[in-house]
């Protein structure tokens, strides 16, 4: 799971997390008691509020790149991309 979530965990961290999440999963497992026959999994978010898709003034590349950990010209610079094992 940690790998899926792109997190490097130390062995002791992994052990503690497994224990704590075991307890949390046991607790949330109580949901199995609820009779959900015929219930739809809807989210009570009421509406999507749409607007006209019109161009607005964007942020300048300089403003956006000011926070970049590494940049090259107007691009974010990242290490090379290799296949994961």
């Amino acid at each position: 799971m940690a790998r899926l979530a792109r997190l490097d965990l130390q062995p002791d961290e992994r052990e503690r997390l497994a224990l704590q999440l075991g307890l949390v999963l046991e607790y949330v497992g109580r949901l199995a008691e609820v009779d959900l026959e015929g219930v739809q999994p809807d989210v009570p978010v009421r509406t999507n509020v749409f607007r006209e898709d019109q161009p607005d003034r964007p942020l300048s590349p300089e403003a956006v790149l000011a926070n970049a950990p590494a940049r090259q010209g107007d691009y974010f610079r990242i290490p090379r991309i290799l296949e994961e094992d």
Partner: protein, 489 residues
């Protein structure tokens, strides 16, 4: 001056008995004296605030109206973006991040003449109930610095409770405005989902998050909500509905209103909290309300559903913190290693727990058993609320099962910490508004009455809070004496 509410300061500012600059200097002085004990703030901008205060004074001197909050110092929870000031979310991963734009609520505050003095401490990415999960150290409760202020908007609640600023903004995903308001003896409102824009709020769980006010009393909450609420084209969940004149609705009272109490859900409440709650509801009866027992049979499942849904959404929302575009980067031999190392170094323990939990409950094979089931439970919890609120006008219950707990008491046991949200999370699942107002102290510590209403009915919640305050003015109690005398409650 630190004892006055915003609505008491405003007329003094308008008739020039009080200058915005003087009010600001008093606020900054008080912050300077109390910060070493309380640590409510992560960033301050004294010089910019002074320039703004001088500009507001010039406008007021010239007889112009700089807006409904003109000259009032405000604090922002540090998950709201203000151009040019760091937005850390209480996390190492955003320690160096300075947003290039303002949150919509920040623009609204500024347009109303408010003066942002700084950003307040929070649990990392708003995940927590004590403000102990901040990477920059905990905030302490002004009523007893050995206790937590609640969370995640703990810094904002403390800034108001300690008289540093009259108004502050928080965000509430599972109780993060109401619970610290209750722990610190101030008022806090979580508005209806869609009432206030989240543009520029760093997302935690997008189907639950709302921005809302923390203030010394209900009238100030109404005043601030009126400035924050309203449509924003930059947030597609923010609805285009008229914004009522909330302060004008305050005096409607509770005469003839039916207040529902979910008695079965409150079984096992500690006796002192139960006594405080009974006293508050009896006071409302004295104001003309009628109490009705209501049944919300699925409310006890709101908390476990929340702790599936919120981490699931968080695991997705926090995927953006990958060391590529902003924030921390820890280098690695390839891009995947860079991301894993960055996130390992940048996130704290609670955030990692929730990311891994959310990744698990969303993963193939477990999605149905956890995430889908929790979404269905969310439906039945919402239905319970709708049915109850069809029979009664408002629901009332304590905001929290216990008052503020000692620092460190729950940090080793995440589940125990989660349980402190038991009375607040249902409101977020159902998208409803919830208000916390001070009721009688419990063992010398502040406690909150939570008022819950129908969607978009904030005016009625506020009127109920105002009714309670007018007969039980617990909001006027001040913690500062203990701090200045060196005594610790």
């Amino acid at each position: 001056m630190h004892r006055l509410a915003a609505h008491q300061l405003l007329p003094r500012l308008r008739d020039r008995q009080l200058r915005a600059r003087d009010l600001l200097e008093q606020a900054l002085g008080r912050i300077g004296r109390l910060e070493p004990t309380l640590h409510a703030f992560l960033h301050l901008q004294a010089d910019q605030a002074r320039a703004q205060a001088d500009r507001i004074d010039a406008e007021l001197d010239a007889g112009r109206d700089p807006g409904p909050l003109a000259g009032l110092p405000v604090a922002l929870k540090d998950n709201l973006c203000l151009q040019g000031m760091p937005t850390t979310c209480g996390s190492r991963i955003l320690e160096s991040f300075v947003p290039p734009y303002d949150a919509t609520v920040v623009r609204r505050l500024q347009a109303a003449g408010a003066i942002v003095v700084g950003k307040t401490n929070l649990d990392e990415f708003a995940m927590g109930s004590s403000t102990e999960n901040s990477a920059f150290g905990p905030t302490r409760n002004p009523w007893d610095p050995g206790r937590v202020p609640g969370g995640s908007s703990g810094g904002s609640a403390v800034a108001v409770a300690a008289g540093m600023v009259p108004l502050a903004l928080g965000s509430d995903t599972g109780g993060s405005i109401r619970q610290p308001a209750a722990f610190c003896g101030v008022c806090g409102l979580k508005p209806t989902y869609g009432r206030v824009s989240r543009h520029g709020l760093v997302a935690f769980a997008s189907s639950l998050d709302q921005v809302g006010p923390l203030a010394r009393d209900v009238r100030d909450c109404a005043l601030l909500l009126g400035v924050l609420a309203g449509h924003d084209p930059l947030d597609s969940t923010c609805e285009d509905r008229p914004v009522p004149d909330y302060p004008a609705l305050l005096e409607r009272g509770v005469e003839g209103l039916r207040l529902g109490i979910p008695r079965a859900f409150l079984q096992g409440l500690e006796p002192e909290m139960a006594t405080s709650f009974e006293e508050a509801t009896e006071a409302l009866v004295g104001c003309g309300a009628r109490l009705v027992d209501v049944d919300l049979p699925h409310l006890e499942y709101a908390l476990p559903a929340y702790y599936i849904l919120a981490p699931a959404e968080a695991s997705s929302n926090l995927a953006r913190f990958d060391g590529v575009r902003y924030g921390l980067r820890v280098s690695g031999p390839d891009v995947a290693a860079m991301m894993r190392r960055t996130r390992a170094a940048g996130f704290g323990a609670e955030v990692k727990r929730r990311i891994v939990l959310g990744t698990y409950t969303l993963s193939a094979g477990y999605h149905e058993a956890y995430y889908s089931r929790a979404q269905k439970v969310r439906s039945v919890v919402s239905r319970d609320f709708q049915e109850a609120l069809a029979r009664v006008d408002l629901l009332v219950l304590p905001t929290t099962p216990i008052p503020a707990f000692p620092l460190g008491e729950k940090t080793a046991d995440p589940l125990d910490m989660y349980l402190s949200d038991v009375y607040t999370v249902g409101v977020n699942l159902a998208g409803l508004p919830g208000l916390s107002v001070p009721m009688a102290p419990v063992r010398g510590l502040p406690a909150g009455l939570q008022v819950i209403g129908r969607a978009w009915d904030e005016g009625r919640l506020l009127a109920c809070g105002q009714a309670l305050q007018s007969v039980r003015p617990y909001h006027l109690a001040q913690p500062q004496a203990a701090l200045f005398d060196g005594g610790m409650a």
